[in-house]
């Protein structure tokens, strides 16, 4: 048997068959055996997805090992050692904390420490996005055409509508923004959704006929 058959052709065929089952069940024959097959495949998907996360975690640990082993200079090695040490330390410490409590990750101590460390850092880094946006708006929003005038005007008007002090003195801003949401935004959003839906359908059909290159690498070994 040619290598290409079991390395590429069968997986591509599997994609087409599985996608086909879902499509046929949805559009054409909603019969019980087909529905049962679909449910079974969905259950497989949930499990495979979970196994994929375990795979990712193993790869993450391998990544730390590889990066550490490849670190060249002393300074870089020290830094990598520190980073990997904190990562593995955090993993083990919180892992043991969960294991030490019958409620594992729902335990009181785990929750308290998790909120203090993990949530707080997530909040801190999550608050780093605004300078990028503010910078983009400040530096890039230059009104030079009708399009840029439109986006800049809507941007400012929307901001003002969400400033309570402004709406208290200029309540007329509220219906203006409500109109923007209901008319131009709704129209553009509908077009955007229809457009991307068509693109997605075309990709789906290409997958069905095995002509979608984004689904699989070409390499045969």
């Amino acid at each position: 048997m040619s290598k290409s058959i079991y390395q590429r052709q069968i997986p591509l065929f599997l994609i087409a068959v599985i996608a086909g089952v879902f499509i046929v069940e949805y559009f054409l024959i909603p019969i019980d055996p087909l529905k049962a097959l679909k449910d079974e495949l969905l259950a497989w998907g949930v499990n495979m997805s979970a196994v994929a996360i375990i795979f990712g975690q193993v790869m993450l640990l391998i990544w730390h090992g590889r990066v550490l082993s490849r670190a060249g200079e002393r300074k870089e090695t020290r830094r990598r050692l520190f980073e990997s040490g904190v990562f593995v330390g955090g993993f083990i410490a919180f892992g043991l904390l969960a294991l030490s409590d019958p409620k594992t990750i729902s335990g009181d101590l785990f929750t308290a420490l998790y909120l203090a460390f993990v949530m707080k850092f997530s909040q801190g880094i999550g608050s780093c996005g605004w300078p990028a946006q503010v910078n983009a708006v400040f530096r890039m929003f230059k009104v030079t055409s009708l399009e840029t005038l439109t986006i800049a005007t809507v941007y400012i008007v929307t901001w003002l509508r969400y400033l309570t002090a402004f709406t208290a003195f200029v309540p007329g801003i509220v219906p203006v923004v409500d109109w923007i949401i209901a008319v131009p935004h709704a129209a553009a959003q509908r077009a955007g959704l229809i457009g991307s839906a068509v693109g997605a359908i075309i990709i789906g059909i290409r997958a069905l006929v095995g002509k979608e290159p984004g689904l699989m690498e070409y390499e045969v070994t």
């Binding site: 993990v118 850092f121 400012i156 129209a187």
Partner: protein, 208 residues
Amino acid sequence: MTPAEIALVWIGSAISLFGLSFIWFGDSIFFAFGQQLYLGAACAYTFFTVWKGLSSSAFTPISAGRVTLIISLIVGALAFARLTRWRWAARYPVAILSGIGVGVTFGLTIRSQILVQISGTLTNLVQVKPDPISAILILIGTLTALVYFTYTREHTGNYGRIVKIGRLFLMASFGYILATDNILHADGLITLLQNLIRDPLKSIGIVW
């Protein structure tokens, strides 16, 4: 508050600052510490979540006799074949998951992204909502913005003019969603500052 709770509030605030410090100091040792601790701790959390998930979606049903699910675990584990010379075997879980993804998307996309959107546009017209002119504007906006998303013709001449109208609608929409997204992030900063300034002081009894 107990001393332990006060300590946690102050430690939490310090950790938040490690994250925020990124804007001014970039990749500092504090940022790296917070980052790696977050990644490690959250990975441990996820490990237990995934394990719990697998228990209910795989181990329990398998022990109850639904043996076909064993295949899903075996095929899923083929992802590890990427680490061996039989790396092509990892294409099987990818193929099954892609097949599910493509299949699931198909019907739902047609329903929620095409039919519901067309129906919405027509509803505006039939019910004359919000007003007759606006209802017609929605129709024009939807059609012209959709013309923008065509790729076989260059956007020049009369066709380009239609696209230009569509682009105006898109611009208005992007202006709105960008502003609301900015506000969301601004609120994130405000929340953080409020927590950073008030919570530690509140924990030691300073409230104003």
